[in-house]
Amino acid sequence: MAINKDSNTYTISFAIVLVIIVGGLLAAIANGLKPIQDENLVNEKKQNILNCLPGNKSITRDEAGSIFNNFVKQRVILNYNGEIKENTLLDNSIELNNKDSRDAFSIDLLKEYKTIKDEKSRNYPLFICDVEGKTYYVAPVMGKGLWAAVWGFIAIDESGNSISGTVFDHKSETPGLGAEISQDFFEDQFIGKLISNEDTYQSVEVNKPGNPLNDYQVDGISGGTFTSVGVEEMMSRTLVVYHKYIKNLNRS
């Protein structure tokens, strides 16, 4: 069977067949693996929320899926003024629903950060947790580093005055530099830092390393300046909302 491999017909049909085969294969693989990937993402988020609570740093992703409800008692969405949005205060007896927009867990902060320019109209999800009888408020934060998004979860203590733990992560910061924000030595610096100055909000500063620090300052990462600035910016922009909510709650 002699086929002229240089003919246009052969070339075009080869291209079509190749694209159909490869496209079909990729679609099948992507579809088949989607449920596992989604579960990984959900469990990772659960793990991050739990890891920033005091004493919970070593919870793994697999464990987090099943023990999430032991710690997280309520999920709620706030508006910019620190008020609870209607119908969004969910008890942990209500199953997590990643598709329900009333569920704080479903809020995609990255999407909101990119599409909703006005920070006053964004959603502010909050996870109210309980560790050994003490209440902690876990607030997600989202901002940008040097290359792409950086985000984190901040645990605030019951009084709303200080930080009890943090978890940071990033999409693609430079390994060894900006990527170090997800390391323990960076995250643990925030424990005990204050966000409240006589009931008014004061944000935590991420400084150049090497200078003496006060209660509102932590060391940044040398060589990871842009990422450090991103961490500082996302915390100062977002935590003010949660601070308002917790202070109002304690007053009433």
Binding site: F14, V22, L26, I29, N40, K171, T174, L177, F185
Partner: protein, 233 residues
């Protein structure tokens, strides 16, 4: 007479086909890229990832394994369809195959090795742009059978991985005083070990330009060891 020569010729062909799996020629396919035909230091391909993913040894090792996997599969699949590929669109066909493989790797990592996939993040996607892969497909797989192609892929990705690991060894050791994340020189923030004596990490080592210096020193050493590599003017 005519018959016997025919038989002889047939035998010759058969003998040729039965070339042992690890004949001298095939072994050379693996050993050559490690030294005198190293893709990075001699052919100067894949330099970009040698600069970008060598800050930590762990990332370098995982990247090398990913490249090994993609290159073997790409080389073998291109070699299998080498007689079908229309000459005019061969580069596009190679690109489609490599891109598809990289997406498969990325998806599988995300599903089953979630932590590794986070570690590598964008670099998995960037395997597509690694010149070594397209270079091997074009130069070797298009003209050779699957088995030699697979060996060629192993050799080249090992040669690539070797340079990556060596560069990242020096970068991580002198840039952050660690190897695979373990503190070798003591703790910099708590001022223990070497740091207590006033030693400081070299910040330049964490940045891409230092890779160029290390790769250059590597080439220098390699050419001292093997003078036949030195080009004469």
């Amino acid at each position: 007479m005519a018959e016997t020569t025919e038989v002889l010729e047939e035998k010759k062909i058969k003998v040729k086909e039965r070339e042992p799996l690890f004949s001298k020629k095939n072994k050379k396919l693996i050993s050559d890229p490690l030294d005198e035909n190293n893709p990075i230091t001699i052919q100067v391909l894949g330099i970009c990832s040698a600069l970008a993913v060598t800050v930590q040894m762990k990332a370098a090792v995982v990247m090398s394994v990913a490249v090994l996997f993609v290159l073997i599969l790409a080389n073998v699949s291109i070699s299998l369809i080498r007689n079908l590929i229309p000459n005019r669109i061969r580069i596009i066909v190679q690109l489609v195959v490599v891109a598809a493989l990289v997406i498969v790797v990325d998806q599988v990592l995300k599903a089953y090795l979630f932590d590794v996939s986070k570690e590598l993040s964008v670099f998995v996607g960037l395997i597509i742009t690694n010149c070594i892969i397209m270079g091997r497909l074009e130069a070797f797989a298009l003209g050779n059978k699957p088995w030699p192609s697979a060996l060629d892929a192993i050799g080249n990705s090992l040669g690539y991985g070797m340079v990556l690991v060596i560069v990242s060894f020096f970068k991580e050791l002198f840039g952050s005083g660690k190897l695979f994340g373990f503190e070798i020189f003591g703790n910099a923030t708590e001022q223990t070990g070497l740091y207590a004596m006033g030693y400081m990490d070299n910040g330049l080592m964490l940045l891409p330009p230092s890779s160029l210096i290390i790769v250059a020193v590597y080439i220098w050493v390699q050419k001292i060891r093997n003078p036949s590599l030195i080009e004469s003017n």
